[in-house]
Structure formats: structure tokens, C-alpha cells
């Protein structure tokens, strides 16, 4: 089979706008030859196992490859009804053995000590669209936007504007069975999503970057709020990223400390935009399709992903993808901005662990439309990978979209995910709403490919033709994976209509048992997917064997050597103490010599370092 279902950045219209920070200057990428559209990603032929799955809420047909469903816990009773978005599950956060699951009508806390049997510890009912959660110690932060949310969480909507709440709710969850609302931090634009940013030096303080996608509330409702058109106007509440400072010991003192003007200077319609060279510089055709267009300037991010260890943030901000320096969290500075006319809504970002790449997603249609049908272009509503150069500028690479055509009953577009910590590779797991969950290798930014998937049939039954010849969905149920994240050895997927899914990765031709075992060695105490931790692997045999499996798979070292290394590792593992240490030390030295002859020298070097680390850790 051919795993390389990828698209070059080619035929489609691509405009790349570089903005030089506060100077507001636009420097344009050089006009270069365009890549042809050959090699374009295609929907699979009729034999994809995800085709034709039977519909159903809890009894839909299932197709899986390289993944296994461990458990599926249905929604808690208060959220267990289907009415548009009113009761859908949203995002996830993780701490210890607990999973915090947001819902448009509140949140729930699960104990997943036994992943086969998640135990619901509490359900908090509170109308809080969209309810994205983050956890920091004993504090749970929940995003609130919309016009019907009340400060007191009650149903029935807002009659008196004084009751209206948009912003971030802070709960004390020190007793996970009895969460307690501590404070509503109100913001002008509300909070569609938010991101936790640690203070650079004070462990007692975090910042919350608030991505609000709505217009500013009237000043009569919240003092200081003002809608205006000039992004540089400091009194304008629209064109800013709201920053909340939270003293963790005194959450009731959390407040908005600044509105970062990271959008200033992004033109709504740049006069000219450069063309970006296609992958590998293949000269191309179809230049008429490469319109020199650019999208409108943003005033919000939909979602921002911080990589605090690198001092960077990737902002998925409407019509732009931003790279932002956050070394001073109260003064974020934009480093670069990318636009792509195929992208409708830059939505979320995931960094590679080395910080050299970012996968951005495009939430074309907002997540409620069935945008993965065979009629929908593959470069719309999927991912694109951007590399970050030493100059901290973006360069765009391939697109990747779920390579399985979904039905008209399945709301589907690229959505949230996180890294799967396999050493030596860049792998992520991702939710695609009713397109299901899949696992993607983006090690080569020009050739992302799918490793595995888990998909259910649509919730709703098939289409029925209306008498007037139009075709409509029967019930229009919004469902599917809001986000799928790797956490301490398993994949957790928040199913909007069906509950909480827990999945396990299985070995396949593209992912070995050693690689999965190495990923499982990475343990976190706390995980908020939009605040990406740097992954560090422990000194261990599965880490070394992951590199070895990769060298066998990519023929990066000759077979005689990989066989000998495998035997040497087995022999070393049979030893203990000083003998094991000596065996590993000797192997490390041999590997250093292999670097010179290896086709994939970098990987052999990484393996040698992992062997040395294990030797040093062996007593």
C-alpha cells in the first residue's frame, strides 16, 4: 500500500505574507516556479474500510487500523441529549489519573485509573459554551462565550445584561467530587478557547491567553469594552489578545492585565503577496490557480498553542497563522504571519517536539458542516505543515487531510490533536469530528502520511430526498471527535455526542511495538494540549530500539549492522549492573563509528546518545 497520501503546496492559491514584527513592514517571498499538482492527495478508492459504516449513536459501525477502542463512556445524564450544540462535549485537560471534559453545558471529571472503566467523579451543570477546560494544580479554567451564559450558570438565558458572563470561569477542583466556582474573569470578547502560559520564573503565577472570537460587549455591560475598526487604537477591544494573570494561591485575584496587540499591521487585503515555491522546487504548471490573494486581517485567534520551553506560540488566527515570541508573556511579539487562501479558518496548531515545525489546522465551515465529502477539495479543511527557519520565519509545506471521504451526514473537518511521543519521529493524533480519529506522521513536512485511524459511522441515518429535489440531513446531529490527545500511554478522544473514548495504539507496518512502548514511557503529571510540554525520553531500551526499528524501516543503516545491534541490545538487557553498563558503553562506541557509514547518520547519532544515556543510568 502507499502510505504517502499527501499534497504538495502546488496548484492551489497560496499567498505568503511575512510581517516584520512591530515595524509593520511586509516583505514578500520571492516569486518562484510553482510545483505541479502531481502527487496530489486523493481520496481512497472504494476499499477504504471507513466507507459505508452503518449509522447509529452507540451502535454505529466501526473501522479501525493501528488503534483499538479500550472503552467508551457515555455522556453523563445531564448532558445526554442531542440538540444542536447545546449539550455537546468539547475539549479535554489531564492531571494525574483525572480527565476533565468540557461540555457546552458544563463539564465533567473522570477518574481513568482503569482506562477500561472510567469512573465519573462529578458533573457540573453550567451553560458555558464552549467550555474548553485547562487544569493547573487545583484550578480548572473554563472558556465561556456566547450571549446566553449567566454568571450564576443558570439556564434560561440572559434577561439582565448584568447577569451575562463571557470570559474564563475558574473552579477550585481540589475535591474532584465537588468542584467549586471561585471566580468569573470577564473579558470583552469572551473566551472561545484559552491557553495556559507559565510565568517564566514564578511558579505561583500563570497567564491565561484568551482567544475570543466574538465582538466586544457593549461598554454598558462591561466597562472598558469598545468595538472599533482601527487595530492600532489602544482603546479598541477587538484587535487584541486578552491576557489574564492568575496568582495560583489567590485565584479570586485573577484579572485581565493586558490586551496584546499582536494583530497590528496585518493588512486585511495586502496589495501584493508573494508566491511560495512548491515542495522540492519542482517547476510547475497551473499558475493561473496560484492567485496572488491574501485573506483579511484577523482580530482574534481561534486558538493559540504555546510551547513555553521554546518561548514560542503558534497562533491560529482566522485568516493567518502567527508565530509569536512569548518569552515575556505580558508582552508577546509577533515574529511572522502566514496566509493561505485555501485556509478559511486557521484553527489550531501543534509544534514538533524540536520546535522546527508547526502543523496548523483549517476549520473550514466551523466544524458543523460535512466538509470531508469526496466533492470537497483536499487542501481545504485539513492541515498544513509550516517549518520555522533559524530566522524564526515560516515556510509552508504539504497539506494533509483525512484521506477518507465521509458522508453528508458527518460533520467533518480538521480539528484538535497532540503529539504522540515516539522518539525520532514527528507523530500526532488528531480528531476530525465525525471523520473520526487518526494518527499522522509529519516527520517529513513535505510528505505527511496516515499511520492509523478509528472511525464510526454517522450518528444520523442516510439522506432522504425532498420532493423539491433538494436533499437534506435527517436530523443534523453534530458529533464526532472534538479533540484526540495522547496522555500517558493512551489516546483520549472527546466525542461530542457519544461520550469519552479511550484508544490504544497497536503495532503496524508504520509503527513498531518498541516505538509505542517508548511513547508510553513519557509520563506527565498534568497536560493541557494547547500548552505544549517539551518531551524528554527516559534512558530505556525501548527508546534505543525505536531508533533501531526506524533504521531498519528506512534502510538508514545496513542490515548486517542493525541485526548485530539488535543482538547486542538483547545481550545487554540480559545482563545487570556493571556488566550491562559495560556492554552498553561498548555498543555506544561502535555506534559512534557507524555514524560515518550510515545513510541516516543523524538517527544513528541519536541512537548512540540514547545508548550512552542508558549506560550512564545503569548502576
Amino acid at each position: 500500500m502507499n502510505p504517502a497520501r499527501w499534497t504538495r503546496v502546488a496548484g492551489p492559491t497560496l499567498a505568503f505574507i511575512r510581517s516584520l514584527g512591530p515595524a509593520l513592514a511586509l516583505s514578500l517571498a520571492p516569486v518562484l516556479a510553482l510545483a505541479p499538482s502531481l502527487g496530489a492527495q486523493t481520496y481512497p478508492s472504494g476499499n477504504d474500510p471507513r466507507n459505508g459504516l452503518t449509522p447509529g449513536l452507540h451502535d454505529a459501525g466501526v473501522a479501525a487500523k493501528g488503534m483499538r477502542l479500550v472503552s467508551s463512556a457515555p455522556k453523563p445524564a445531564p448532558f445526554d441529549s442531542i440538540s444542536g450544540l447545546t449539550f455537546v462535549n468539547s475539549d479535554l485537560a489531564f492531571r494525574g489519573n483525572l480527565v476533565y471534559q468540557g461540555n457546552f453545558a458544563g463539564f465533567s471529571i473522570w477518574d481513568v485509573s482503569d482506562p477500561a472503566k472510567p469512573v465519573q467523579l462529578s458533573v457540573v451543570e453550567c451553560i458555558t459554551s464552549q467550555g474548553d477546560p485547562s487544569i493547573v494544580g487545583n484550578l480548572l479554567f473554563v472558556s465561556a462565550e456566547g450571549r446566553g451564559n449567566r454568571k450564576d450558570c443558570a439556564k434560561g438565558g440572559v434577561e439582565d445584561p448584568a447577569d451575562h458572563m463571557t470570559g474564563v470561569r475558574i473552579y477550585d477542583v481540589s475535591d474532584p467530587r465537588a468542584p467549586r466556582l471561585v471566580k468569573n474573569v470577564e473579558t470583552c470578547k469572551g473566551s472561545h478557547t484559552h491557553t495556559v502560559i507559565p510565568h517564566p520564573s514564578d511558579a505561583g503565577v500563570v497567564y491565561i491567553y484568551v482567544s475570543g472570537s466574538q465582538n466586544a460587549r457593549p461598554e454598558s455591560e462591561l466597562a472598558g469594552c469598545r468595538n472599533a475598526g482601527d487595530p492600532a487604537d489602544e482603546t479598541n477591544s477587538l484587535y487584541r489578545l486578552d491576557v489574564i494573570r492568575v496568582p495560583l494561591a489567590r485565584p479570586q485575584e485573577a484579572e485581565v492585565v493586558t490586551g496584546a496587540r499582536i494583530f497590528t499591521g496585518l493588512s486585511p487585503a495586502p496589495a501584493r503577496a508573494g508566491r511560495e515555491r512548491g515542495a522540492r522546487g519542482v517547476p510547475g504548471a497551473d499558475s493561473a490557480m496560484m492567485a496572488q490573494m491574501a485573506a483579511a486581517g484577523p482580530r482574534n485567534c481561534h486558538d493559540v498553542t504555546a510551547y513555553p520551553a521554546m518561548g514560542l506560540l503558534a497562533g491560529a488566527c482566522g485568516s493567518y497563522g502567527l508565530l509569536v515570541d512569548i518569552s515575556n508573556p505580558e508582552r508577546p511579539v509577533r515574529l511572522d504571519a502566514a496566509a493561505d487562501t485555501n485556509f478559511s479558518l486557521w484553527h489550531t496548531a501543534v509544534f514538533s517536539n524540536d520546535g522546527s515545525k508547526v502543523v496548523f489546522t483549517d476549520e473550514w465551515g466551523g466544524g458543523t458542516s460535512p466538509n470531508c465529502q469526496a466533492t470537497h477539495p483536499l487542501e481545504m479543511g485539513g492541515n498544513t505543515t509550516l517549518s520555522i527557519g533559524p530566522d524564526k520565519k515560516f515556510r509552508q509545506h504539504a497539506y494533509f487531510k483525512l484521506p477518507s471521504a465521509q458522508t453528508a451526514q458527518e460533520n467533518c473537518v480538521s480539528h484538535n490533536g497532540s503529539l504522540v511521543p515516539v522518539p525520532g519521529r514527528d507523530i500526532m493524533v488528531q480528531g476530525w469530528y465525525q471523520g473520526g480519529v487518526n494518527v499522522i506522521d509529519f516527520t517529513d513536512a513535505d510528505r505527511p502520511f496516515e499511520i492509523g485511524f478509528f472511525d464510526r459511522g454517522p450518528v444520523d441515518p442516510p439522506l432522504a430526498a425532498n420532493e423539491d429535489g433538494t436533499v437534506s440531513r435527517q436530523r443534523g446531529t453534530i458529533a464526532g471527535s472534538w479533540g484526540a490527545y495522547w496522555y500517558n500511554g493512551l489516546v483520549y478522544s472527546s466525542e461530542m455526542a457519544r461520550g469519552l473514548d479511550i484508544l490504544e495504539l497497536l503495532p503496524s507496518e508504520h509503527l513498531s511495538a518498541n516505538e509505542i512502548e517508548a511513547a508510553k514511557l513519557v509520563r506527565m503529571e498534568e497536560f493541557n494540549p494547547q500548552s505544549q510540554p517539551r518531551i524528554v525520553w527516559p534512558a530505556a531500551f525501548p527508546v534505543i530500539r525505536s531508533y533501531l526499528d526506524q533504521l531498519v524501516r528506512n534502510d538508514g543503516l545496513n542490515a548486517a549492522r542493525t541485526t548485530a545491534i539488535a543482538q547486542a541490545l538483547d545481550a545487554a538487557e540480559r545482563q545487570t549492573g556493571v556488566r550491562r553498563r559495560a556492554a552498553l558503553t561498548m555498543l555506544g562506541a561502535e555506534l559512534q563509528a557507524d555514524v560515518r557509514t550510515a545513510r541516516d547518520a543523524a538517527r544513528v547519532r541519536a541512537m548512540a546518545a540514547a545508548v550512552r544515556d542508558l549506560a550512564e543510568a545503569t548502576r
Binding site: 440538540s83 444542536g84 445584561p161 465582538n215 493561473a288 465551515g365 425532498n466 420532493e467 433538494t470
Partner: protein, 174 residues
């Protein structure tokens, strides 16, 4: 479902007691179906009228995006016991920014670069009309408290604001 040849403006709207949605929400959803349907009608002209490839592609994107939103709005209206206009409703309902019969005839008659230019001018106005519809909806504090209406109105504003920027760009650089 029966054929509907009449506009929904005159159809009586009954809001059940205790509902979170209002008459303004229902009228917004009904009106936006007609508004979207005309945009789709305009977009489907592009290919046969020798529009430039980038305009054809852009028009296809409008078509696909707004068709999905029409299905959502129809679903919402039916789920809430309201009349759901079909995709021919643009012929009888007039909303902000929509083209008159004369303007549509001019667009249909245009070819090549003049089609591109006219399409962009009209569609910018059409999109601005959608933004006006959203602004009118949101001016009513009791409206758009239903989360589906709120999310849809917000998505329309975000998407069409960005597309207006794109279309201005295309007009400036034919």
C-alpha cells in the same frame, strides 16, 4: 415536504413559551437561507461564463461552504418547529445586499474578465449584506442566545469578513 413558492417573511412565527430563541433568530435563519441560496446561484454561474480559474475555485468554495450552512439552518428551523425555506427561496425573499433581477441578468450576460469583475463587485456587496444581517441580529440583546444561532452567526461573520478581503484583493489585481 410541499413546494414553497412564497417568501417566509409573511409566515407567522410562534415561539414556544420558555424557548431560548426569539422571533429575530427564526427570521435570521430563514432570511440567511435565502441569502446563501442566491450566493450559491451566483457562484454556480462562474464556470460556464469563462471566469478565471481562481474565481471559479473561489466560487466553488462559496458554494460548498454556504450549502453546508443552509443544511444547518434548515435542520435548526425544523428541529425548533419552524418553517424552513428551501434553496429556491432567494427568488421570493429579499435580504440585505441581494441582487435584483436586473443585476442578476447583467451578471448572467457577462463573460470572462467582465464576469469576474461584476461577480466580485456583487459578491462583496452580497457578503456585506450578510454582515449587516448578523449585526442586525446581534443588536437585539435577547437574540442569538441559542448557541447554534450564535455560533452560526459568528462563523458567517468570520468567514465572510475574510472573503470580502480576498475579493477586494482580486478586484485590485485582476
Amino acid at each position: 415536504m410541499a413546494h414553497h413558492h412564497h417568501g417566509a417573511e409573511s409566515a407567522p412565527i410562534t415561539i414556544p413559551p420558555g424557548a431560548l430563541f426569539t422571533e429575530a433568530d427564526v427570521r435570521f435563519m430563514q432570511g440567511m437561507i435565502a441569502h446563501h441560496a442566491q450566493a450559491i446561484h451566483m457562484s454556480r454561474m462562474a464556470e460556464a461564463r469563462e471566469a478565471s480559474p481562481r474565481l471559479v475555485r473561489f466560487a466553488q468554495k462559496i458554494d460548498l461552504s454556504q450549502a453546508g450552512e443552509i443544511a444547518l439552518m434548515q435542520d435548526w428551523l425544523r428541529a425548533h418547529g419552524q418553517f424552513a425555506p428551501d434553496t429556491s427561496s432567494w427568488r421570493t425573499m429579499t435580504m440585505h445586499g441581494m441582487l435584483t433581477a436586473e443585476e442578476l441578468a447583467r451578471l448572467e450576460a457577462a463573460r470572462g474578465a467582465s464576469f469576474d469583475r461584476l461577480f466580485l463587485q456583487y459578491m462583496i456587496r452580497h457578503h456585506e449584506g450578510a454582515l449587516q444581517m448578523v449585526a442586525d441580529l446581534l443588536a437585539n440583546p435577547r437574540a442569538a442566545q441559542d448557541v447554534d444561532v450564535s455560533v452560526l452567526a459568528n462563523d458567517i461573520e468570520t468567514t465572510q469578513t475574510a472573503e470580502i478581503g480576498l475579493m477586494r484583493q482580486m478586484l485590485d489585481e485582476p
